[in-house]
C-alpha cells in the first residue's frame, strides 16, 4: 500500500505503458482509491471512495469498498473519479469537418435510402477528433446521422472512444428523425408533409404486404420500411428532434396510434412549457444544454432553465450538444453541466444539483436510450468507463489524469498535445519544426 509512490507514478506509468504498447489487459483488476467518487447516477460525490474494475466492468464503487488482493492500485487522493462522459448527440467518427466531404458520412442527399441507413458502417476510430475528445474524458458517444432526402436520418450508433479498432458498442441503437423546422424542409416543405410521410412510412412498416414499393410514386423503399419495423415494435428507440411546445405535443400524440413506440425527444428547447405532459408520457429528453435564444421561431421560449424545469417535473433529462452551431465539441459537456449547477444560485432560475448535473452527461443519456444498465455510471456491472480527474470534473480547470474505457487504460495525450509540445517555443531551432518530435 504505497499510495504516495503510486500517485506520483500514475501519469508517467501510463505514458510509459502506452509508448511500449503494453496496455493493461482487459482482465486486469484495478482499484482506484482515495479519490472523491461520483457514481454518475444522480447521487452526490463520495469522499475517500474506491472504484474497483475487473474484466472490463465495474465491480464496486463507493465508500468502504475493499481493494481485492492482487489489484493494481491507483491512488486518486486529491482527485475525483467519475464515469466517462457520454455524448448524447455527436458526429464523432463520421465527420472531421466542413469542406471535407471526403470524411463526412453524416448525410446522403442523393441516396434513395433514408431510415435504412446505418451510421455504424462509417465510424472511423482513428479520426483526430476521437482522440482529442477522449483525452478530455469523453468515453462514449451517440453518433447521429443527419437527414438527407427525407426527415428520416437513419440509424444511429453508440460508440466507444477507445484506442481499440472496434469502436461500435451498439449499432442501430436508435432511429433518428427530424420533426420540427428541419423535418418540414426535409419532408417537402411543411409540418403536415412531415407527418404524412412519417405515418406513411410507419404504415408501410406495419403492413409491408400492402405497401407498393415498386411504384415510381412509392414514398419509401422496402429497405427503409423494414428498418422501421423495430421502431414500430418498440425494440429500437425513435429519437425525434423537435423544439416547439406544440410540436412536442404532436410527437407525444403519436403514441396513441403507435403505443409501442419508444420515443426520445432531442432538443426540446420549449420542453419546459409542456414538462408535465412529457413526464406523464414517460418520454425521456436529450435536451439542448444551455440554448436560451430564440434562434428559431420554434425555440422562441428557450431558456437555460429548461433542463432544470424538466427534471423538476419528473422527466428523465440528459443534455447534449444539440442546437449548438460551431464548435460543438463533446468536451464542452462537463462545462455545460457545471452551468446548470450555477443556475441554482440564480434567483428565478431552475438548475440541477451537482449529482444530477453529472448524471445529465453520464447515466441520463444512457437511460434515454435504455443503456444505463450498460454504460454511464460506476454502478456494479457497468462497463468500466472511468475517468480520474485533477479536480471537480465539471470545473473548467479540471482535466483527466487517467482514462479507462472497458477497463482499458487510454492515452491522456492527443494530436493536440503533440502540436502543443512542438510549438511551446514557437521559434525554429537548428532544424525546421517538422523535425521536432
Amino acid at each position: 500500500m504505497t499510495r504516495a509512490s503510486l500517485l506520483r507514478g500514475l501519469g508517467g506509468a501510463l505514458c510509459a505503458a502506452l509508448s511500449f504498447s503494453s496496455l493493461p489487459a482487459l482482465a486486469e483488476t484495478i482499484a482506484i482509491t482515495g479519490g472523491t467518487v461520483a457514481i454518475g447516477d444522480g447521487s452526490q460525490p463520495i469522499e475517500n471512495g474506491t472504484v474497483v474494475i475487473a474484466n472490463g466492468r465495474i465491480v464496486a464503487a463507493g465508500a468502504g469498498v475493499a481493494v481485492p488482493a492482487g489489484a493494481t492500485v491507483i491512488d486518486a487522493q486529491g482527485k475525483w473519479v467519475s464515469p466517462g462522459i457520454v455524448a448524447g448527440v455527436s458526429t464523432l467518427g463520421v465527420m472531421e469537418g466542413y469542406g471535407m466531404s471526403e470524411v463526412n458520412d453524416l448525410s446522403a442527399d442523393k441516396s434513395p435510402f433514408s431510415a435504412a441507413l446505418d451510421i455504424s458502417t462509417a465510424v472511423n476510430p482513428n479520426g483526430q477528433r476521437i482522440g482529442t475528445e477522449r483525452s478530455a474524458g469523453i468515453t462514449r458517444a451517440f453518433v447521429i446521422p443527419s437527414t438527407g432526402n427525407t426527415m428520416f436520418a437513419g440509424q444511429g450508433a453508440v460508440i466507444d472512444l477507445g484506442t481499440d479498432p472496434d469502436p461500435v458498442t451498439r449499432p442501430r441503437a436508435f432511429q433518428y428523425v427530424e420533426m420540427g423546422e428541419d423535418g418540414m424542409h426535409a419532408a417537402g416543405g411543411s409540418r403536415p408533409a412531415a407527418y404524412a410521410l412519417l405515418k406513411a412510412a410507419l404504415g408501410a412498416a406495419a403492413n409491408p404486404s400492402s405497401a407498393d414499393f415498386a411504384s415510381k410514386d412509392a414514398l419509401i423503399t422496402r429497405q427503409d420500411a423494414e428498418a422501421l419495423v423495430p421502431v414500430l415494435r418498440g425494440t429500437q428507440p425513435l429519437l425525434v428532434h423537435v423544439e416547439r411546445a406544440s410540436d412536442i405535443r404532436s410527437v407525444l400524440a403519436l403514441k396513441k396510434q403507435y403505443p409501442a413506440l419508444r420515443l426520445v425527444l432531442v432538443g426540446a428547447t420549449e420542453g419546459w412549457m409542456v414538462a408535465s405532459e412529457i413526464a406523464a408520457a414517460r418520454v425521456p429528453v436529450i435536451a439542448a444544454a444551455l440554448i436560451d435564444l430564440p434562434e428559431k421561431f420554434e425555440s422562441i421560449a428557450s431558456t437555460q432553465s429548461n433542463v432544470g424545469r424538466l427534471a423538476k417535473a419528473g422527466v428523465t433529462v440528459a443534455i447534449s450538444n444539440a442546437d449548438i452551431s460551431e464548435g460543438p465539441y463533446e468536451s464542452f459537456l462537463p462545462q455545460y453541466a457545471g452551468n446548470l449547477v450555477a443556475l441554482t444560485r440564480m434567483p428565478g432560475a431552475q438548475g440541477l444539483d451537482w449529482g444530477a448535473a453529472l448524471a445529465s452527461i453520464t447515466s441520463k443519456p444512457a437511460a434515454a436510450i435504455g443503456m444505463d444498465g450498460e454504460i454511464g455510471s460506476l454502478r456494479a456491472g457497468r462497463r468500466a468507463d472511468v475517468v480520474v480527474w485533477s479536480g471537480d470534473p465539471l470545473e473548467l480547470a479540471s482535466h483527466p489524469t487517467a482514462i479507462f474505457i472497458d477497463g482499458v487504460a487510454q492515452p491522456t495525450v492527443s494530436r493536440q498535445t503533440r502540436l502543443r509540445d512542438r510549438y511551446l517555443d514557437p521559434v525554429e531551432k537548428a532544424l525546421p519544426k517538422a523535425y521536432e518530435r
Binding site: T132, D292, S325, L419, Y423
Partner: protein, 461 residues
Amino acid sequence: MALVLTACSGGAAPKSASSDAPPPGKGKAFDHDPFPSTYKPYPGVPTAIVHATVYDGEGGRIENGTVLLADGKVVGVGGADLAIPAGAKLIEGKGKWVTPGIIDVHSHLGDYPSPGVEAHSDGNEATAPVTAQVWAEHSVWPQDPGFSRALANGGVTTLQILPGSANLFGGRSVTLKNVYARTVQGMKFPGAPYGLKMACGENPKRVYGGKGREPSTRMGNVAVDRQTWIKATEYKRKWDKYEEKGGEPPSRDVAMDTLRGVLDGEILVHNHCYRADEMGIVLDMAKEFGYKVTAFHHAVEAYKIADLLKANGTCAAVWANWYGFKMESYDGIPENLSILHNAGACVMIHSDDQNGIQRLNQEVAKALASGRRAGFQISDEQAWTWLAIAPAKALGIADKTGSLKPGKMGDVVLWNGNPLSVYTRPEKVWVDGAMLYDAYDPKLRPVSDFELGQPGEGDVK
C-alpha cells in the same frame, strides 16, 4: 441641432468645387462620420463596490478591493483603505469579484440576429468578393435578443459587430455599447474607430469558387486582394492631392473610402485568417501596400508564429479551443492563447458566436488551465486581460474602456463568485456607471421588442 448640421455638411464634395476653390485640407473633403453615434449614457448613482476581489483588466489584482463609480466613470480603484464618498450607494462584494465589462472583438449579433431566419441573414453581402462598400451597422437589428443574453449571462458591455467572412473585403465593422436602443446609432460606441473586415482562406474561395468565378483558390484570394489595394492606393492618391491642393474633386467610391481609411490608419483591419502560413502572406501584403493588420481573428494557428505576430505588432483574437471543424482549423489547440501570451504577443479571446459570447469568461478559464498544464505561469488577473484591455486595444478604445482605471467609462461586472469558475454568473452589470443588469431585480433584465408578448418573455433565460 448639432446633429442636423453634421448631416447637412456630410454629403459628397461640393458639386461646384472648381480649381478656384481652396483645398479642403487633409481628410476634410467629405464627412467621415455620416451615421454618427447618438449613444448617451444612462444615469447612474455614485456607487462604491466594496470588499471584493478586483481584476483591473490590465493584469492587476486587489484583494478586499473597492471600486468607485460616479458620473458614468470609474473614479477610484483601491484597497479597503480607499475613502468612500459620502452618499455613495454601497454594494457589498465580499466573496465576489469585480472586473471591467467584457469586450467581444468579434460578434455578429444584430447582423445575424435571432431568430436566424432567412429574412434576417444580413451578415454577408456575398455577391462579390470585394464589398468594402458595405457597413455592418446598416444590417444591425438593435432588437436582437442576443444583446441581452450577452449582457446578463456574459457581462459583455462592448462588442464589435463585423460583416461575415464570405468576402475578401467584407466591409466595415461597428463597435457598440451593449445597451439597447431604438436605432443602431443609439448603440454606437462614441469615438470608436471603424474596422474593416477582411477574410483569407477557405470561405471566400469556397463562396466564389462555388459560383465559378475568381477567387476559387488561395492564390486567387491574394490576387484579388492586391488588385484591390492597388486601386485603393490610386484612389487615396487622388483624394490626398485634391484635399491638399484643390482642383476638381475625384469621384466618390464608398468602397474605396473605406480602403483609403485603412491606408490612412483611420480604420483598423480585422482579418479573418486561420493558418499560420496565410497570416504570414497577409502580413507581407500589408507591408507591400503600407497598411497594418490590427488583429487576425480566429487565428487558430497563431501559436505557430507568435514571434512573427509580435514583431509586426499584430494581435491574435482566438477561441479557447475550437478546432477541426474545417481543414484550416485542423491544428487548433487550447494552448493558443497561453503560447502567444508567453511569447509577448497581443492576444485576446473572441466569440464569433451568439452562445459563446455568453461565456467568454469560461473560455478564458479553459484556455488558462490548458496553458498552466503546459507549464506557463499565468495568473488569473493576467488572463483577464484577454477579455478586457487586449480587445479594447484592438478596437482602438483602450483609452475609454477595457480596464478599471479612474477616468474610464464605468463599464463594470460584479460576479457572484470567482469568474473563472463554471459555477459563477454575473450578478450586476454597469455600463457607463448605470446599473443595466441585476440578477436580483427582474426589472433590470432587458426584454427586446421582439420578445415582448411572446412565450418566455422576461424569463431568467
